[in-house]
């Protein structure tokens, strides 16, 4: 996950040379993002599973 985020930041830096200026993400925010992403994906999987099992339960 860290590698993926690092790649995005590389892309962001690339764009800053083509228009936008400024610093890329701080180390703190970069550190926190993978955890937030994992949380979002985990919640989405939980939501999908909940909907699936609710469908199975109430159809039975």
């Amino acid at each position: 996950m860290r590698t993926v985020v690092a790649r995005f930041y590389t892309a962001e830096t690339m764009a800053s040379t083509t228009g936008p200026t400024g610093t890329s993400g701080t180390k703190d925010s970069a550190d926190r993002l993978p955890l937030i992403f994992i949380g979002i994906v985990a919640l989405e999987i939980a939501a999908i599973l909940t909907l699936y099992f609710a469908g199975v339960h109430f159809a039975s």
Partner: protein, 563 residues
């Protein structure tokens, strides 16, 4: 509606305008008017992002879909959280640090003027028409269900929205969105409470959901990979991902929301609000529709919910045919009610019980009679007929207690107003920044652009209201607008993929790619039966490929030369 309900709706409309105008005190400069001087807290921006997306069509139509088809539509949103993750590390920092007013402004810095102008023009065209539809759809439903004058209903939604958006700018839009979002959620929860309390004493919530589940309404997931199916797990995850990337990452009505955040981090967090809350909220709205199905098993619903065409039919020569169907419906409904009571009494949990089989058969019979009635109305009135959007308003006005009717009607108004306010604000911004300032008057002081922004907001508001009145007369126009939007949503995403992710791309590649993408999507719509969510994937891929090829053929980009 009772006097108390009228007072609730009137108080809401007055409060929205007064609160919006109050916000205008902080918007004397163009940066404050269009971007709130980048000062808004992430949670307010996040709720505004959600409110802009949640229109009255969502509230009225999605509950209707839950009633008719169950939870399946929730799959449409499965790609959204993943899109938010991607946008939080791509679009948000790019746009925020570029200090742009519009997403399309960024395209000129990256590519050229023609690419910026074309994408801005496509946005203005699609969002302008969409704004009319956002106002028209609830207006026509409310005017029929409540017996209101259609023009007055359009104006009741449109006029307050235009006033607070024009006077207060993006700050008024955002803070009003926050309150409107709260009203929408409270309205839905009130409806859910009334639905649950309205079930017979011996029918628990679990039994009601088992009844809905017996006829497939609790089945949310469809695992089939079929490009022609509208809502499957895969179209939701993949097609929905591309649609969300395009809507939240390239559409000014959303980009402008997170450009108002205090920082990049604030912009990211605002998107995470939708990532966490969107699927549960949509599931709740759909569940409201499923609960309406369970409710109407024990409380007799009209055979058809959209009464206006039915009244015309009853006044014509085929009234006797409809009357005969009504008698048939009464018998089928009573059989289903008894079967539902038997199944609920038996616990409703056995897949092979006689009670369950009887209930499923009785429900099939009710649906068959309804289908025949719909076909009769279609044939007699020579017009399309669908009553899905009328189920929720009918329930609200017929079964909700005094006061709460006004609250839910206010919530429908709030949903329509929050969506159209965000659109009007972004339409004015793109008009002023991408067209007026870029092509008409590049140099002027802030007060001039502020005045033009307010005039543009009023003009787009007028366009939306007049367009809404035409849209309601030409029912199929709504479908045309939605299809029209899907022609270039994915294609515009392709342009931004070239801009942000591929440094080899140049302006010629992006421009030719955009046109090529729209042509391919048009061909796919015309000659295949591919479901619309997949068109977003197709458009984005085609634009990216054509863009790279044309860029390579025309000498690459300045960006590549600089690295």
């Amino acid at each position: 509606m009772s006097a108390i309900d009228w007072i609730v709706v009137a108080a809401y409309l007055a409060w929205v305008v007064i609160d919006g105008v109050r916000m205008s005190k902080r918007t004397k400069e163009i940066d404050g008017y269009l971007l709130a001087s980048r000062s808004l807290p992430w949670w307010a921006v996040g709720l505004s992002v959600m409110a802009t997306q949640l229109s009255a069509i969502t509230m009225v139509s999605t509950t209707g879909q839950g009633y008719a088809s169950g939870m399946r539509f929730v799959q449409f949103y499965f790609g959204l959280p993943i899109a938010m993750i991607i946008l939080s590390v791509t679009a948000v920092p790019f746009f925020w640090r570029a200090k742009v007013y519009t997403a399309y402004e960024f395209l000129e810095r990256r590519f050229d003027s023609k690419t910026r102008t074309l994408t801005a023009f496509l946005f203005l065209l699609s969002r302008g028409l969409s704004c009319s539809v956002v106002i028209a759809a609830p207006s026509v439903i409310l005017s029929i269900v409540l017996g209101w004058n259609l023009t007055l209903t359009v104006l009741a939604i449109g006029a307050p929205t235009v006033i607070y958006t024009m006077v207060g700018g993006v700050q008024a839009v955002t803070w009003t969105d926050v309150k409107q979002m709260a009203i929408v959620v409270i309205g839905i929860l009130a409806a859910v409470t009334v639905l649950i309390l309205g079930l017979p004493h011996d029918v628990s919530l679990g039994s009601a959901l088992h009844l809905a589940g017996a006829v497939g309404k609790m089945q949310a997931l469809d695992f089939h990979f079929d490009l022609t199916q509208k809502y499957t797990l895969w179209s939701g995850l993949i097609g929905g991902l591309f649609l969300s990337l395009s809507y939240f990452g390239c559409d000014q009505s959303q980009v402008q929301r997170y450009l108002t955040a205090k920082s990049v981090e604030g912009g990211r967090r605002s998107l995470f609000v939708s990532a966490y809350a969107k699927i549960p909220l949509q599931a709740l709205i759909l569940l409201t529709g499923v609960l309406m199905f369970a409710f109407f098993l024990f409380h007799k619903a009209p055979m058809l919910f959209n009464a206006a065409p039915v009244d015309r039919l009853k006044a014509g020569p085929r009234a006797a045919e409809y009357h005969a169907l009504e008698q048939e419906y009464d018998r089928a409904y009573e059989t289903r009610r008894q079967a539902a009571e038997s199944m609920a009494g038996a616990g409703g949990e056995s897949t092979v019980s006689a009670e369950r089989q009887a209930f499923v058969a009785a429900d099939t019979e009710v649906r068959a009679v309804r289908d025949r009635a719909k076909a009769l109305v279609k044939d007699a009135t020579k017009a399309d007929y669908d009553d899905v959007n009328y189920v929720f308003p009918t329930f609200v006005t017929t079964y909700m207690p005094v006061g709460l009717v006004g609250l839910v009607i206010a919530a429908i108004f709030a949903a329509a107003m929050s969506a159209s306010a965000g659109e009007l604000n972004s339409l004015a911004t793109a008009t002023v920044i991408d067209i007026y300032k870029r092509h008409v008057r590049p140099v002027a002081d802030d007060s001039h652009y502020l005045l033009v922004s307010k005039i543009a907001t009023a003009a787009w508001g007028l366009f939306a209201c007049v367009g809404a009145m035409y849209a309601v007369q030409l029912g199929s126009l709504i479908e045309v607008v939605n299809t029209f939007g899907s022609y270039f949503y994915g294609s515009i995403l392709g342009v931004f993929i070239l801009a942000i992710g591929l440094k080899r791309a140049n302006g010629h590649g992006a421009f030719v790619g955009l046109i090529g993408g729209m042509i391919v999507v048009w061909a796919a719509v015309t000659y295949t039966k591919v479901a619309f969510l997949w068109l977003n994937v197709l458009g984005a891929v085609v634009v990216t490929v054509i863009g790279l090829v044309v860029s390579a053929a025309t000498g690459g980009s300045k960006a590549e030369a600089r690295t």
